[in-house]
């Protein structure tokens, strides 16, 4: 069963409107910059892809409700409301009991946890503020979205590190298939906080400034030195494609195939073996009847780490080889170079790919120097360092998480995703 995307929104450092986001994605702009809102001088890393434009939260969220929401909940609820409106859910009279919510976040509500815990550390049990505690629970954003948009169907919060958003989409598709809901609002987001940045820096997960050079993300390049963290939120409304088609309503994108596999790696390491995901992609292709060779491009999960990029390059090489595209390899996008790596960033990457397809380009990546692990003598991969024209409507989206979880999704851009408000 295909799932149709009937509405979407994005709150990204590359843009907080659909139009601005699409424009910047296609132009290959990067949102990575020095962190300005907290001190990083004691750390080895100083850059991130951060949301900088203030959002008019009151457009969707009553002031009284806003006061009880942390930064992540505000982002999530705002993105949910935008997508909900874009899909005209309320106007269609879908019963609240048939509206489901699936939230994806890797780090959840660190801001609230920190706020609550600091008061506990400084003032002891008497200082722990009961107002803050409900905001610390992992599913508080999901609960708040349900309240704001009257979604009384299933409501889940999914955490699977960097594959959180893709896992949420898979769960949403399952809910539609099992007829648990008429629409599923999938909201994926992450809010960067000092404590998260500090923690990731201390466990050496981030790209570090070296010899006076600031951090950059150079997926697949010889100069890659790890990832820069990002933040943002994105939301889509998913419905059964056959129902939307029967109603003759617009479909912006279509999710047709889901592949998944797991490797046994430690929680901080990325999968290295390309074979498990290749096997899963083969099975998915057979099931959904899509040939990877027909993709307009591959939306890679490369995050400028040595292991993951090499693994992805092997996967992409094999897909090209097996589909007889040695001479004209599929273009490769690596959107994380522009938006940074964050656990629920998969949905933003998917929307970036849609934006690229609507403009007829593969979103470019800042590729500079070939790396022996990501380039092959028998097949030169097509890393697009400038916007490259592509034909077609479909793309293969890859996702990988530290800890060994990998997914691949087959998606189609169906009609102009930008412009309808």
């Amino acid at each position: 069963m295909d799932a149709a995307i009937t509405g979407w929104s994005v709150l990204s450092p590359l843009g907080t409107t659909r139009e601005e986001f699409a424009r910047n994605v296609c132009a290959g702009r990067s949102a990575i910059a020095l962190i300005a809102n907290f001190d990083t001088s004691a750390l080895d890393s100083h850059c991130a892809a951060q949301l900088r434009a203030p959002l008019e939260y009151k457009r969707y969220i009553p002031a009284a409700h806003l006061r009880r929401m942390d930064g992540l909940s505000r982002l999530m609820v705002y993105a949910a409301c935008e997508a909900f409106n874009h899909a005209a859910v309320a106007a269609r009279g879908i019963p609240p009991e048939r509206r489901a919510v699936v939230v994806a976040s890797g780090m959840n509500h660190t801001e609230s946890i920190e706020q609550f815990y600091q008061s506990l550390l400084q003032e002891g049990p008497e200082g722990a503020n009961p107002i803050y505690f409900p905001a610390t629970i992992p599913n508080s954003a999901g609960g708040l979205i349900a309240i704001e948009l009257e979604c009384r169907g299933p409501n889940f919060t999914v955490t699977q590190k960097e594959t959180s958003a893709e896992a949420a989409l898979a769960l949403a598709a399952d809910l539609l298939e099992s007829n648990d809901a008429d629409i599923v609002l999938v909201v994926a987001g992450e809010a960067l906080t000092p404590v998260v940045f500090d923690g990731l820096s201390r466990v050496r997960a981030l790209c570090r400034a070296e010899r006076g050079r600031p951090e950059v993300m150079r997926p697949f390049s010889r100069e890659r030195r790890g990832f820069v963290i990002g933040e943002g939120a994105a939301a889509v409304v998913l419905e059964r494609a056959d129902t939307v088609e029967a109603d003759d309503r617009p479909i912006f994108g279509r999710l047709s195939g889901i592949a998944e596999c797991c490797q046994s790696t430690s929680p901080m390491k990325y999968p290295a073996d390309p074979q498990p995901l290749l096997r899963a992609i083969e099975a998915m292709s057979a099931e959904c009847g899509q040939d990877p060779a027909s993709a307009a491009f591959i939306n890679s999960a490369a995050n400028a780490t040595q292991t993951l990029d090499a693994c992805e390059a092997q996967i992409i090489r094999e897909i090209n080889k097996r589909s007889g595209r040695r001479g004209s390899p599929l273009p490769v996008a690596a959107v994380k170079a522009a938006i940074g790596e964050f656990c629920a960033g998969g949905l933003t990457r998917i929307l970036a790919a849609f934006a690229g397809l609507q403009a007829g380009v593969c979103p470019p990546l800042p590729y500079d120097a070939a790396d022996a692990d990501c380039e092959f003598d028998d097949l030169r991969l097509s890393y697009c360092s400038a916007p490259a024209a592509v034909a077609g409507t479909d793309f293969l989206h890859l996702a990988a998480a530290a800890g060994g979880h990998q997914m691949a999704l087959w998606l189609r851009s169906e009609r102009p995703a930008v412009g309808r408000n």
Binding site: P125, F133, L171, T265
Partner: protein, 410 residues
Amino acid sequence: MGAICGLGDDLDVIWSGLVEGRCAIRPITIFDVQGYRSQIAGEVSALPPLPAGGALGVQPGENPKRLSRTDLLSLHAAAAALRDARLLEAPEIAQTGIIFGAGSGGMRSIEIYRRAAARLAADRAAARPLHAPHPALLVPYALNTAADFIARWFGLGAPRRTVSTVCTSSTNALGLAFRAVRAGRARAILAGGGDGLCELTVAGFNAMRAVDPEPCRPFDRNRRGLSLGEGAAFLVVESLESARARSVEPLAEFLGYGHSTEAHHITAPDTTGAEAARTLALALADAHIAPADVDHVNAHGTATPYNDVAESRGLLLALGEHARQIPVCSIKAMIGHCLGAAGSLEAVAAVRSLQTGWIPPTIRYETPDPDCPLDYVPNQARRTKPRIALTQNFAFGGNNAVLVFRRWEE
């Protein structure tokens, strides 16, 4: 099935404790609780060692410091469940997925790190010797860490999911596993949850004055709030075809799952019981059974004033007068509210009730509450031979979930 909680680290020991009405709620020892309204919980007295065996076991260079309290509890229960299902050494384990229900995850490790970091700053200011906290303590922050560890330890394959809806996390993990197996998307899934005690939850529930200073008394008129607990429990949810192919006898039949959201308030339940009843009705419909078919309910029964009323009213609304005829128990009176692990611990107990015919008691039940007018199996276990049992949980965020099990009969 496999479980660990304040009553023990072996399912037979836990079950006999439940049937005997033993209380595992006692003073918290793992951190300082001075100043809190409630200083007790169903704490696991000794953390289990890392499980041996499995497909992979301990890897060279493994850093045990990376395993949080939740990870250790979960690994132990997962090993027991996989062993019980005869999957631990079986080749089919590579085709077995995991759906993990998380609550606070590795929060205790983060707290240890944060307190050590605070001490470090103070020591630096006072020019005392410095002992920097190990950054590996930060690794379990992500809620999916336990699922990753379990999958790696035992060589589990896809799907791998971590869902968090706090008090319904492991209920939903089981429900989603059931749905995936029933739809043919998976052959077998290890599903359940784990949650270790941490200061954040103890402080939070204390700050909200949702805890009883004494061990909790579910459904009793004089109840004053919940008691926290910790633990982990997993069940292997497998298609009958797959179990038969492996010559494994099912423990029970998973019949149905209902889940919904109240969209009413982030912490307070709908006290009319209508929302609880709606979820229960969804589960009954999913299981294709009538209200009169239900023989036993292993309740959420937190012992908070609002929950117990909402739950009792929900049962009356969904099951009608039949709700008064069946035994409804809360094992939280014995093991505390294990949050992310509560649903799977209660599911394990419900399945054991179907297997043995024994319903655990709701201990410390002394004074009936007119707003909770059901049969709560007060203080003594009862033998009733139930055929169909429900478990239900309700969570912050307005998240409700109900599971339906049937006694296995060939």
